[in-house]
């Protein structure tokens, strides 16, 4: 699976670099809301999120691309009781999740002739997820690579021929692995697009 994904990423990167007729690069702020098993661990919304994305137009409507991101979730559980097999810990517990999605993407853009252009599509790839739990001076952490998908809908708005505004919403889902829970979150993106003709 990893080899297939890696090959897919390389193919898309090569395509977007070599055959650029029109493409864009986007950077965006990406707050998110954890849901599902992620929400069970940390139920706080995250205001810390960042993403980078490149899309290449195959034709006037369809793009392929790649995207990378980083989201941080955290929660403090004051006076928390953590039971273990032969005892208990009591104190403030701090939980963190750092999530790094790496995705190959496909998007379909409507109304190419207009200033305001909705799009929908999604990504497929992996989430690198680093979970850290701290109590007192003790810390435990796990890092996992979860295969995942990220369906998305959004809009582009032309500021100038070179620059667009981007707004969108993703549902990030990293499938459960043998050693880690599934990751799921509703993430938003708002950013700037740099169009390359």
């Amino acid at each position: 699976m990893k080899k297939t994904l890696f090959s897919l990423l390389i193919t898309i990167i090569t395509l977007t670099a070599a055959n650029a007729q029109e493409s864009f690069f986007a950077i965006y702020y990406s707050p998110s809301i954890p849901v599902g098993q992620t929400n069970s661990y940390i139920d706080n919304s995250s205001l810390r999120g960042l993403g980078f994305e490149h899309r290449h137009y195959i034709d006037a409507l369809l793009t392929v691309g790649i995207k990378f991101g980083w989201q941080v979730y955290n929660k403090k559980l004051p006076d928390y009781i953590e039971n273990f097999s032969s005892g208990v810990l009591y104190g403030n517990q701090y939980r963190y999740i750092n999530t790094y999605p790496i995705m190959a993407t496909v998007h379909y853009h409507l109304w190419p002739e207009r200033y305001f252009r909705p799009y929908f599509g999604g990504g497929i790839g992996v989430f690198n997820i680093h979970r850290v739990t701290e109590m007192g001076l003790y810390s435990s952490s796990t890092r996992s690579w979860n295969f995942g998908v990220s369906p998305e809908a959004g809009v582009l708005y032309d500021l100038t021929p070179e620059f667009n505004l981007l707004a969108g919403i993703n549902f990030d889902y990293g499938f459960k692995t043998k050693d880690s829970d599934a990751h799921s979150a509703l993430s938003f993106k708002i950013g700037i697009v740099w169009v390359r003709l």
Partner: protein, 214 residues
């Protein structure tokens, strides 16, 4: 600003804003690190023991390489030991301190000021206040933790440690005695201005959490 520079400006702005901390809102003060640990030996049947001997003396172990040394006043030492005794009695344990030979367990209270090191134990000699119940050689380490206990050697500055030993299974020579329970208040005495009532209430909380002693 020319719009051509807008992406670069936004990139810097977003990145700086985001980079304010990948571990946000973590522990900020010493008290945020305070931690109560209660750990017992799962192989010990607590229903088989109902009495304890608790020496009045609280041992203070200062690691001389620590950045600051913590000293407990005599009143504080008395208060902390008394709180341990009060809790044990309140949970149905018989105080056999005045008849040590009959005690099924020995409970020891110590204050440890140490860095992140277990070497301090090698330097220390066994507490001599237990009279005939002190069968250990000078090289024994105190306290003795069975391997089953997690979080054993990572001690920090200012820990109040309560150890329960099975007095019926004391080794003949310098082997490690059978520790059946430890209660550890990590960080609770890290400040030079120790709040006695806060420590006492934390000892009460420790015993509330230690259901195997109830």
């Amino acid at each position: 600003m020319r719009i051509k520079n807008l992406p670069i400006f936004l990139f810097i702005l977003i990145t700086l804003g985001f980079a304010q901390g990948c571990y946000p809102e973590g522990a900020e003060t010493n008290s945020d690190y305070d931690l109560i640990i209660s750990a017992y030996n799962p192989g010990f049947d607590f229903s088989s023991a109902s009495s304890f001997a608790l020496p009045d003396t609280l041992i203070v172990l200062n690691d001389t390489t620590a950045s600051e040394l913590i000293e407990l006043t005599p009143d504080q030492r008395v208060a902390f030991v008394a709180a341990v005794r009060e809790n044990l009695v309140s949970y149905g344990w018989n105080d056999s301190t005045n008849a040590q030979a009959e005690a099924e367990t020995i409970v020891l209270v110590s204050a440890i000021v140490a860095k992140y090191s277990d070497n301090i134990w090698d330097e220390w000699k066994w507490y001599e206040g237990l009279g005939n119940l002190q069968p250990l050689g000078q090289n024994s380490r105190y306290p003795w933790y069975p391997n089953e206990f997690p979080y054993i050697y990572d001690y920090t500055i200012g820990t109040l440690l309560i150890t329960m030993i099975d007095a019926r299974q004391l080794p003949v020579s310098g082997e490690e005695p059978p520790t059946v329970w430890i209660g550890s208040l990590n960080g609770i005495i890290s400040s030079k201005t120790i709040n006695t009532s806060n420590v006492v209430s934390t000892i009460h909380r420790l015993f509330e959490l230690s259901e195997n002693l109830h």
